[in-house]
Amino acid sequence: MKFAVVVFPGSNCDHDAYHAAKDVLREDAELIWHKDTSLKGADVVILPGGFAHGDYLRTGAIARFSPIMQEVKAFAAAGGPVLGICNGFQILLEAGLLPGAMLRNRSLHFRCEHVHVRVEQTDTPFTAAATPRQVLRIPIAHGEGNYYAEPEVIERLERNRQVVFRYVTASGEETDAANPNGSVHNIAGITNDARNVVGLMPHPERACELAVGSADGLVVFQSALKALALAPATVSAAVSVLEK
């Protein structure tokens, strides 16, 4: 299986996502420059963390205009699995592939630390290998991860089971103290209506080896393998299986 990791000029977790896919999972992976116009046959697309164009404007606001984003949109529209991590999540919001927006953390500080997130839904290509309500210990590293959407949007996300990850305590309880940035409903990650595009603020690619403190993030990547293994060959076929 082949992972495409999109490289914007200010991406800085591109190598980490590539390392997780290539060196830890031992799958095929390729870095795709943001000015490219082809995803080069990838089965899964990852928009990695970083500061795509410096993000002096809104995070991700310029990245959505990069040539590769046309391909990413088409890939997503065809049902291909797309994962946005941190800045990648912010770009998915700006590109309209996921609803909502990011505010600055309520502490007004950048925060980097391990947090706990609970897997709320297992019928997405990035949680298929997780157990329902599994608690993962994964790092965050962001200044603008305070997820916000209008109440009716939040209501729809909840009703459609589109909240995929939530900040919780180590024992899996959703508390305000466990919320590192002030996100509405402790939301750490969401999916789209078709459930093939997932964005999350925590960094699963930083938690794929015990040597660096946690391997809980591996399940996100293993999920992609599992989801695609359910159906052979083409992405659309794989995703159509998922949708049933």
Binding site: S11, H15, F51, Y56, H109, C112, R206, A211, G213
Partner: protein, 747 residues
């Protein structure tokens, strides 16, 4: 451009009459104002090291692993597998006081450029910070700004900040110290130099456009502060980490092509420094035309363009015929590389403006032939009194419990969590030891190895005894990497002192450099480069002398890294080294009595070396489960720090030290004797570790056991400390954020 060179003009440029006479002798004519500006920045203390050079020459800089010593943009040591660790520390003290956020941010930007300029991919940052008392609103503002600036730059560019240290003392109130360390990895045989050679080769400028910011920044950093310092704010530059990220990636890509002759960043003294230094190193001349330099403001004079310290700019010399290839790579990253001149055969720096020569100076006059001063030194008058410590005059020492809780809440000792959670310390997924857990440790992907990194200096010790204090800084920094299992293989220093024109300051400097050199020689640690920051004083009051040492340690097996925290209940606690009655210069005296006094702890470098080797061997053998060195706060604080973040209490019983008897407990618990490390070992390995220590002639004693939910310390069978772990950890982990939350509550 024919402004007459009056005394006022010279003073504005920080040049003395004697120095001006020297310029006249070199030039054989009156310099133009542009030339005078160029001399002034290149001969500034910051660029020329004119006061420090005679002393720095005595430092040990060679060794079997050294690939690059001082003189280039950074030093480099061989770490095996055909790889080199490229590293350096640099100060950004003066700008960080005037404008904390940008001052600190551009300090990070500058040191990162120094590393990737050598062809190395930066993988780790550390910073060594000093601030005044957090009770002062000004200090809190400065610290909040500095931390945010370091975070803003390092996080954006994607290089993890994995460690460092922070200490507090009133002397730093108006002169914070911001020392930033960066380490990168390159192929050992692909290190790139900052050199210009090959007559006719093109000289390229790439990066941000040149503006009027930072003009005379190097000169500002070469003078003390007074109440007008805020007016110097325009001399502080503004950072653009995204531009730096583009430069980093583009330059590393260009370097893979072998199309470059040399490259240098434009840091202090900007285009001036890079032009003449590259020429001097390559034994060639460099000719540029400032009219070709990309400018973001209109009407800039050659003087302003040459002296601007706008950030994120690089100067490159490209091999003839390879220009298009290099330009293409920069275009890919939306950067525009501009040809602004070429290499000439005449060893001169020639600056033109629209083809008209506006400055022409022999390179070496600006670099190697800059003035060198052997400034007068005199033992400071304060020393005799400060070293005398009569404990009897201090009254009673205070109950151990009260001292313990006060020390845990002291910002110098308390957890720095409020700071390091603002830094991205995990990006690049190499961080094996998180900040606050001992030396910073990063693995070297593609190898079995890891690197342990530590920066240290206790300014109080250096104040009381510059020679031994500097030796203690070397011992502590190298001991910290040894605790993690790292063999110290190289170091970089950042020497922060007050005004060198005062003989007592120069004496501190000379003594400290000698102490640092002697200690590094004995421990076999070459110093491959660094930075000197003088004039850290405001209105005549200087900082504590603070020669920071950053040490790089090599860990052969990344999976055998040792951290500070206890691991399992039942493990034995062993004290390596011996307790002594040494309270001089301690955090105890400072916090409880407001004193910086006494004789600093003694140091036997041979014993220190044996201790460090024991730690490295024990880690490699996989029999040391945790290790933490005794520093500020002494044995009691060290034991507590081993328990914090581990959920394991501790119970020990130790021999008391020395007279007078009333001070025995305090001296035993909180004395700061050097060369001591608390390790924990599983019970079946105790005899082996003790035998290894005996063979190495390192004193070692099994003092207790890990476990429980309390911190218990007895002295010769009598329990003097028995505190709940959770409550102590709460005090320690929230003390610093408490200062900032209080501030928010007021605001």
């Amino acid at each position: 451009m024919t402004e007459p060179i009056t005394d006022a003009v010279l003073e504005r440029h920080g040049l003395t009459r004697e120095e001006y006479q020297r310029i006249l002798d070199i030039m054989g004519r009156t310099p133009t104002i542009t030339e005078l500006g160029i001399f002034s920045v290149m001969w500034s203390e910051h660029c020329s090291y004119k006061s420090s050079r005679v002393h720095l020459k005595t430092l040990p800089t060679t060794g079997p692993r050294v690939l690059q010593g001082p003189g280039e943009n950074a030093g480099a040591v061989d770490i095996g597998d055909g790889l080199a660790a490229v590293f350096k520390i640099e100060s950004h003290n003066h700008p960080s006081f005037i404008e904390p956020y940008q001052g600190a941010a551009t300090g990070v930007g500058g040191i990162i450029r120094d590393i990737f300029t050598m062809g190395a991919r930066p993988i780790a940052l550390l910073n060594s910070l000093r601030f005044g008392s957090l009770d002062e609103p000004l200090v809190r503002r400065t610290m909040a700004g500095v931390v945010a600036g370091i975070a803003g730059y390092g996080n954006s560019i994607g290089i993890p900040t994995v460690g460092g240290e922070i200490a507090f003392d009133e002397s730093y109130t108006g002169n914070p110290l911001v020392n930033v360390f960066c380490l990168g990895i390159s192929r050992a045989d692909e290190i790139i130099k900052g050199t210009a050679s090959g007559v006719g080769n093109a000289v390229y400028y790439v990066g941000a456009k040149t503006g009027r910011d930072g003009i005379h920044g190097a000169t500002m950093a070469s003078a003390e502060f007074d109440d007008k310092s805020a007016e110097k704010r325009p001399a502080v530059q503004v950072g653009d980490p995204f531009m730096e990220k583009l430069l980093l990636e583009a330059c590393l890509e260009v370097m893979k092509t072998d199309a470059l002759v040399g490259i240098q960043d434009m840091g202090a003294a900007g285009l001036t420094c890079s032009t003449c230094e590259m020429g001097a190193r390559g034994g060639a001349g460099v000719e540029i035309d400032v009219a070709l330099v990309p400018q973001r403001e209109t009407g800039m004079t050659p003087y302003e363009i040459m002296l601007s310290e706008s950030q994120e700019r690089m100067l490159l010399v490209v091999k003839k015929g390879r220009e298009a290839e290099v330009e293409r790579i920069f275009e890919k990253w939306d950067l525009h590389a501009v040809r602004i001149g070429e290499v000439t055969p005449d060893n001169r720096m020639r600056v033109k403006d629209h083809g008209v020569v506006v400055a022409e100076i022999p390179n070496r006059a600006l670099t190697d032939e800059a003035p060198v001063y052997r400034r007068p030194t005199a033992e400071p008058a304060y020393l005799a009194e400060a070293r005398a410590l009569n404990l009897a005059e201090l009254g009673t020492p205070g109950a151990a419990r009260d001292v313990f809780t006060r020390l845990l809440a002291s910002p110098t000792i308390a957890s720095k969590r409020w700071v390091y959670t603002q830094y991205d310390h995990m990006v690049r997924t190499n961080t094996l030891v998180l900040p606050g857990m001992g030396a910073g440790v990063v693995r070297v992907k593609g190898t079995a190895r890891a690197l342990a990194l530590s920066t240290d200096c206790n300014g109080r010790f250096v104040y009381l005894d510059p020679y031994r204090g500097a030796q203690l800084a070397v011992a502590e920094a190298s001991r910290n990497v040894a605790c993690a299992g790292g063999q110290p293989i190289g170091a970089t220093n950042c020497l922060n002192f007050a005004n060198p024109q005062r003989p007592e300051i120069m004496w501190q400097f000379a003594q400290a450099v000698q102490g640092m050199g002697d200690a590094c020689r004995t421990l076999g640690i070459p110093i491959t480069g660094g930075n000197v920051s003088l004039y850290n004083e405001t209105d005549g009051k200087g900082v504590l002398p603070t020669p920071v040492l950053g040490v790089v340690g090599l860990i052969e097996h990344a999976d055998r890294v040792v951290r500070r925290t206890f691991r399992s209940a039942g493990d034995a606690v062993i004290l390596l080294g011996e307790n002594r009655h040494e309270l001089g210069g301690s955090e105890y005296l400072k916090v409880m009595h407001g004193l910086i006094r006494g004789e600093v702890p003694s140091l036997d470098l041979a014993r220190e070396a044996a201790l460090q080797q024991l730690l490295v061997d024990g880690a490699a053998a996989g029999i040391i489960r945790s290790a933490h060195d005794c520093a500020e706060g002494g044995l009691a604080v060290t034991l507590a720090e081993c328990s914090f973040d581990s959920s394991q209490g501790v119970d020990v019983d130790v021999q008391g030290v020395g007279a007078p008897a009333a001070w025995r407990d305090v001296a035993t618990l909180f004395g700061e004797a050097a060369s001591r490390v608390v390790v924990s070992v599983s019970p079946e390995h105790v005899e082996r570790v003790l035998a290894m220590a005996a063979a190495a002639t390192v004193p070692a004693a099994r003092i207790g056991v890990v476990g429980g939910d309390r911190i218990r310390v007895s002295v010769e069978g009598v329990r003097v400390l028995d505190e709940p772990l959770a409550a102590m950890e709460q005090i320690w982990s929230t003390a610093i954020e408490g200062y900032f939350e209080r501030r928010l509550a007021v605001a």
